[in-house]
């Protein structure tokens, strides 16, 4: 890509020195590290020549330039400490700072292949967290190993499969509501199941008649999130559980929306056999621009023997903790225990809040969602909702989102679930103040009053203007090497 492409077409502007950040009207630009100072070094190694490369070409910035580069990049990025991120189903809450200090504690610097006796601190925390999550979920046993929510789903499905196999019960289908998270479909398919999609009823909930028609001897699992992606509690959950169980199937709880149930209800009590927790959502570990997260799963006692290995238990003498392999373990889903630091932060968060604080989390999250919905002009077709709601835009939801950026807020999740036209799936979380919610409502309403054509011209004030997604996918350039070639 030539230099011109990176320049705003401004004939009068002098070409700035290449190293420097350039400001555009409302935007910024930071050169790639490879455009600043790259260096090709001859690889001089004590290894035999036939094993080694001849040279290595990579950026070679001095530390001050490293610091400036990434500081600049951070300034071109929006996090929860920059402002509200009301992404539905994502639970983008403020993450208390002290958990980072706990994660930096020296006691985290333990290698996973130490003997059990030499990692008692780690095993103790793993044990406490797995027991605590079991209590919160109403489950009998928990594995902390899955490194993300989708990995939790995959693990849960593998556990269900192993359970059915152990009963010589050959089942080929996983039922997923049409409004479910995309990962549910993908995880079931990855585990080798046929996915049966379940339609919603007029109220946005599981259509019980359709479920009865869908379940049968092939049903391995029904995956549900409750409240569902519209924020609605599946009030027929006990009937749903009976239908699935009577057919010999199992019920899986997608924990993405657990932030609405703390202290109020537990998946285990509703009849769920397996659930995953998204620690990076409900228990406030920062999302890190996409991860790492952690997706522990809980199961009922019948399924506990199939959990991944290792599990942690108290030693017989009660003096410490030890790892063990469950009797019919599916093996491993991560080489070690997933993202340890996420586990530490989540445990610290739970301990800090306690019963009272956790219930307050859900009450405030639900109140905030309901308050915000009451302040916006867009229609919210389904209710009563809990921690999130799905509004229907009267313009292209993607355009609405881009336009909201100009109001200094991150937009909601858009165009999904598809059951709502031009969906704006909104989850403000409990950590937003009334003032922030009012600002957010004002942004929604300002956009609602803007002419639909004008929305297509937005955003105007962001680092980059609207980005050409189609050409990015048509002629992919995925590295600086590809830019050089192109």
């Amino acid at each position: 890509m030539s230099q011109e492409h990176r320049e705003r077409t401004d004939e009068t502007a002098a070409e700035p020195p290449h190293q420097q950040t350039r400001w555009y009207a409302g935007g910024q630009y930071e050169p790639l590290l490879s455009e600043k100072r790259s260096k090709t070094v001859a690889v001089d190694s004590s290894l035999p020549d036939d094993l080694t490369r001849d040279e290595l070409e990579l950026p070679a910035p001095a530390e001050p330039e490293v610091a400036r580069h990434y500081t600049r990049l951070s300034q071109m990025n929006f996090g929860i400490e920059s402002g509200t991120i009301p992404l539905g189903s994502c639970t983008m809450k403020y993450n208390p700072k002290f958990t980072e200090d706990v994660a930096a504690h020296r006691g985290n610097r333990v290698h996973p292949l130490r003997a059990d006796a030499d990692k008692q601190g780690i095993l103790h925390l793993l044990y406490e967290l797995q027991e605590t999550l079991a209590t919160i979920g109403g489950m009998d046993a928990v594995t902390l190993q899955p490194p993300a929510g989708a990995a939790g789903e995959f693990t849960g499905i593998q556990v269900a499969k192993a359970y059915h196999d152990a009963n010589d019960d050959d089942r080929s289908e996983v039922i997923v509501p049409e409004s479910a998270h995309g990962t549910n479909f993908a995880s079931a398919a990855m585990a080798g199941y046929d996915v049966v999609e379940l339609p919603s009823n007029d109220e946005g909930r599981v259509e019980v008649d359709a479920l009865e028609a869908a379940v049968g001897p092939d049903t391995a699992l029904l995956m549900l999130t409750n409240p569902n992606t519209l924020g609605l509690f599946e009030r027929s959950i006990e009937e749903i559980a009976d239908i699935v169980h009577d057919a010999g199937g199992l019920l899986y709880y997608d924990g993405a929306n657990l932030n609405s149930l703390l202290g109020k209800a537990r998946p285990g009590d509703m009849g769920f056999d397996i659930m995953h927790f998204n620690l990076h959502k409900t228990f406030a570990t920062p999302h890190g621009g996409g991860g790492p997260g952690q997706g522990p799963i809980g199961v009922g006692s019948d399924l506990a023997p199939f959990l991944p290995t290792p599990q942690v238990r108290e030693t017989d003498d009660g003096d410490g903790y030890e790892t063990y392999a469950p009797a019919h373990s599916i093996g491993r889903v991560h080489e070690f225990v997933g993202n340890w630091l996420v586990l530490v932060k989540a445990y610290a968060y739970i301990l800090r809040h306690g019963d009272e604080g956790l219930e307050n989390v859900s009450e405030t999250a639900v109140l905030n969602a309901n308050y915000l919905a009451s302040q916006i002009e867009y229609e919210v077709p389904y209710g009563p909702f809990h921690h999130e709601f799905v509004a229907s835009a009267d313009a292209d939801a993607g355009d609405v989102a881009k336009s909201m950026l100009d109001h200094g807020v991150h937009p909601p999740t858009t165009k999904w679930p598809e059951i709502v036209d031009e969906a704006l799936m909104t989850e403000p979380t409990e950590t937003e103040s009334k003032r922030r919610l009012d600002d957010l409502a004002a942004a929604f309403n300002a956009v609602a009053e803007t002419d639909a054509d004008a929305l297509t011209e937005t955003p105007r004030t962001t680092t980059a203007r609207r980005i050409d997604q189609a050409s990015a996918a048509r002629s992919p350039q995925l590295s600086w090497q590809a830019l050089d070639d192109g």
Binding site: S82, G288, R332, H386, P459, A464
Partner: protein, 429 residues
């Protein structure tokens, strides 16, 4: 706020049938921030402070301060996945630079912006092989010395499509090329080999493995890591179709096994790649801009036909690895890799002179770690070293228990202590 929504208390907003309401308590006390820190750090302190020579897939290198200071900037740490690229250009560019780093290290045309760890990346490679191969393959071949931990993850990934995981032999600690040739048939969709391998040996003849794979229309998947690849021949040059491994050797110190899965492949598999990809494009003003791209591969669009179920990944660790690599530069990366060669080499030389030890067990250049034969039972040697404050482990090498030793820049200065401990506790029984 309550007035605006028309309730007297938030609890009224919960539309939950009484029969499934939770009326009890979790029994978790609320703690002040200070008390929480004291409690959690107190638990963590129950692990003793040991000098570790452990390795085995989780390696410790010095991570410069600049990595923490920059990656912990809240704009990075607290941001979401870049579904609104106009306000997340910074993270997207960092991930684009990470992908470029992996492209440079592997020689392959496409790198994604992370998998969970090296084991799940290998699992994804097996699924990729199953998708791209012209005729359906039933088997992936892995070396006999693949750690059980990694194999178990692979087996879970392979289970869905019914891919068998079979073993090919190793000889003298490295790939037995003739044995591999005998194991091959047209049902094999992928051959996996790692360098450095599970015993720390750098594989001498991966060209031959690449040729065998090509002859049988099987993908060749190479396992390595971001530091080793800084000096090793780029796997693409000897026929690798996919490279997986750990990039967390940069930016991530010992953290109880957290990983950063590295995944790169040939450009013609582009539309079958698992995980997120960042691409360069232009914005409406004609300026270069970055965006997540080819999202139609992903679960939120393609659902059950997605190339993977992965959503949340290891993005922040990729940022950290990129910062660490930038700070090192190519000279620093090569120096660090060289230290991984000389450190274990020197340690083995010294161990080998001790009565009752043979180090390394296998010939050939090693990287970071090596197996050691002990006259005394290896477990007893580990126990003896433990008493001296050193953590080592045993490895089951084809039925024989051997001592494993890993030396990097962060424990090299304690090799003297290791030698003393071995001399004191490891001699003939």
């Amino acid at each position: 706020m309550l007035d605006a929504v028309g309730v007297a208390a938030p609890d009224e907003l919960f539309d939950i049938p009484e029969s499934v309401r939770f009326d009890s308590d979790y029994g978790i006390e609320t703690h002040s921030e200070r008390a929480t820190r004291t409690a959690v750090e107190g638990i963590l302190d129950e692990s003793p402070d040991l000098t570790e020579f452990l390795g085995g897939g989780h390696y410790d290198h010095y991570v410069p301060s600049v990595v923490d200071h920059l990656s912990l900037r809240s704009e990075f740490l607290t941001s979401y996945t870049q579904y609104q690229p106009e306000i997340t250009q910074g993270f997207l560019q960092a991930l684009f630079e990470f992908q470029s780093l992996v492209v440079e290290l592997t020689g392959l045309g496409v790198a994604n912006c992370s998998m969970y760890d090296r084991a799940t990346a290998l699992g994804e490679a097996a699924l990729l092989a199953d998708r791209v191969r012209a005729t359906s393959g039933e088997t992936v071949l892995v070396p006999a010395n693949l750690p059980d931990r990694v194999r178990s993850v692979l087996e879970n990934y392979a289970d869905g499509p019914g891919i068998a995981v079979d073993t090919y032999p190793t000889a003298d600690g490295t790939v037995d090329v003739d044995g591999l040739a005998d194991s091959l048939d047209d049902g094999v969709s992928m051959i996996y080999a790692a360098t450095p391998n599970a015993h720390g040996v750098l594989e001498p003849d991966l060209d031959a493995v690449g040729d065998l794979a090509a002859d049988h229309d099987a993908l060749f998947c190479v396992g390595s890591d971001a530091v080793a690849l800084s000096v090793l021949e780029p796997p693409e040059s000897y026929g690798a179709d996919v490279v997986v491994g750990d990039a967390g050797v940069l930016g991530l110190p010992t953290t109880y096994g957290m990983g950063l899965g590295l995944f790169a492949c040939r450009e013609d598999f582009l539309r079958q790649v698992p995980g997120r990809l960042v691409g360069a494009s232009e914005d409406d003003a004609g300026n270069r801009a970055y965006t997540l791209t080819l999202q139609t591969r992903e679960q939120h669009i393609r659902r059950e036909r997605a190339t993977s179920n992965i959503c949340t990944n290891q993005a922040w660790l990729a940022l950290r690895a990129a910062i660490h690599a930038a700070w090192l530069g190519p000279d620093g990366l090569v120096d660090l890799a060289e230290e991984c060669v000389t450190g274990i080499d020197e340690a083995c030389e010294r161990i080998d002179t001790l009565d009752g030890f043979t180090a390394p067990v296998y010939d050939g250049p090693h990287f970071r770690e090596a197996l050691v034969d002990t006259a005394a039972p290896a477990a007893d040697v580990v126990e003896g070293c433990r008493d001296a404050g050193l953590a080592l482990r045993t490895v089951d090498d084809g039925g024989q228990k051997r001592l494993a030793v890993c030396v990097t820049d962060t424990n090299r200065e304690r090799v003297d202590d290791l030698i003393d401990a071995l001399a004191a506790h490891g001699g003939s029984a």
